[in-house]
Symmetry: C2
DNA sequence: TGAATGTTTGACCAAATGGTCAGGAACACG
DNA sequence: CGTGTTCCTGACCATTTGGTCAAACATTCA
């Protein structure tokens, strides 16, 4: 065991300037590599190269490949759920849901690597996530599903299964990040940026679905 | 190079009974392993074990891990596109699209491994697919998109962007196979089989979206 | 300036992994 | 039955990969 290096010290915060810089560089490079090739497909050498560090130096900052992956995932889930957290029970139902859709789609556009990291993980059984999934994701979804059900009961939106509504928002928006290659291949050069049309389409879809 | 074995002979059809049996066993085991762990995450040993063969014996039937993967993918795409091929330009527009949705959802239920294999591949840049994607998938989608546009122009369905409509059918139905873990975690034990509700929800969604 | 602390690296290792090969076992068939 | 072909395996190999370590190099700050 390598007992030197900041990685052995359970640092709440990286201390020095250099540590902060390299920490960041590693996580960014790792996001590139993990999202593009999956956990097993990524090698420590690739991450080291992409972050501009040597492999031993990288392992001075993180105890293992696994640890980097783990940290990325745990940081990710919070960011990932923020758009749903922001769904306001006191707001106008349809506007709130449409705003959620827009925020999620915007995340697919701005953070495709994060989306793919998550997709890779869930796709392969979500072993590194299953705890967080049931302890963080499920309660939040249940809470927001209740809000949607209430709106539905009050006749402010059309009747829909709240959980499946949420699934559909996830799948429709994340599709543009996760299946990017396919989307762009099918659309061809005529529509180089799929997102503007995607937004129009999704707004139409959810408006027609939800308007009572 | 191992020049013995049926794999070196470009066999149009496996010859003997044993070859047919083992070929099938290998492809089935490989589908299990590749879909669950991705190409790089899968090992030849795992596939060999799952198919009940020794590693050298497996490599007697296929020249390489890559070759198994390749064959699975090329067989897959045809199956995968069948539901779309069946979309009948002469049929009733809404019934046709709903039937397509149902067929795709049924495939997610019956063939989740295939769905995940495909997702894994596209997610990681689709390098093994990009040719087929542009030469087979795109033309077919363009053709069916034209049909949908015609229906739209004739006022038989509401106005929608045809390509994005197709994307939405893909993402919504495949989500239940690809993100199975997440779906089941969120729904909990109360709804052990998500598919019946999923079908209701999707039928409602597309009916409301498309009814003029 | 110099000692303590933090950072970096070349060389190295053990395990895992894709693949090979020589030869033995099982089978088909005249 | 025997002989040619198909099928199967233990032993082996080269490469890749995650990770280690001692020692050199920087940086900080008293």
């Amino acid at each position: 065991m390598n007992e030197t290096g900041p990685s052995s010290r359970i640092p709440t915060q990286p201390r020095t300037r250099i540590q902060r810089r390299n920490h960041k560089a590693i996580l960014d490079a790792a996001l590139d590599v993990f999202s593009a090739r999956g956990f097993r497909g990524a090698t420590v050498d690739q991450i080291a190269l992409a972050s501009g560090l040597s492999k031993p130096n990288l392992l001075y900052y993180f105890p293992s490949k696994e640890a980097i992956h783990q940290q990325l995932l745990s940081e990710l889930l919070d960011i990932w759920l923020d758009p749903l957290r922001a769904l306001d029970p006191e707001g106008d139902p349809i506007s709130e849901i449409l705003a959620y859709v827009r925020r999620k789609l915007e995340m697919s556009r701005q953070m495709p690597r994060e989306s793919r990291l998550f997709a890779n993980e869930v796709l392969q059984g979500g072993t590194h996530l299953s705890d967080t999934l049931s302890k963080v994701l499920k309660p939040l979804v249940d809470e927001k599903a209740d809000v949607i059900r209430r709106w539905s009961d009050e006749g402010r939106i059309a009747a829909v299964h709240p959980h499946h509504l949420i699934f559909s928002i996830w799948s429709l928006t994340q599709h543009y990040a996760d299946f990017d290659v396919q989307v762009r291949t099918v659309l061809g050069n005529a529509e180089p940026d799929p997102f503007p049309e995607a937004e129009k389409y999704l707004v139409t879809l959810f408006t027609r679905l939800l308007t009572p």
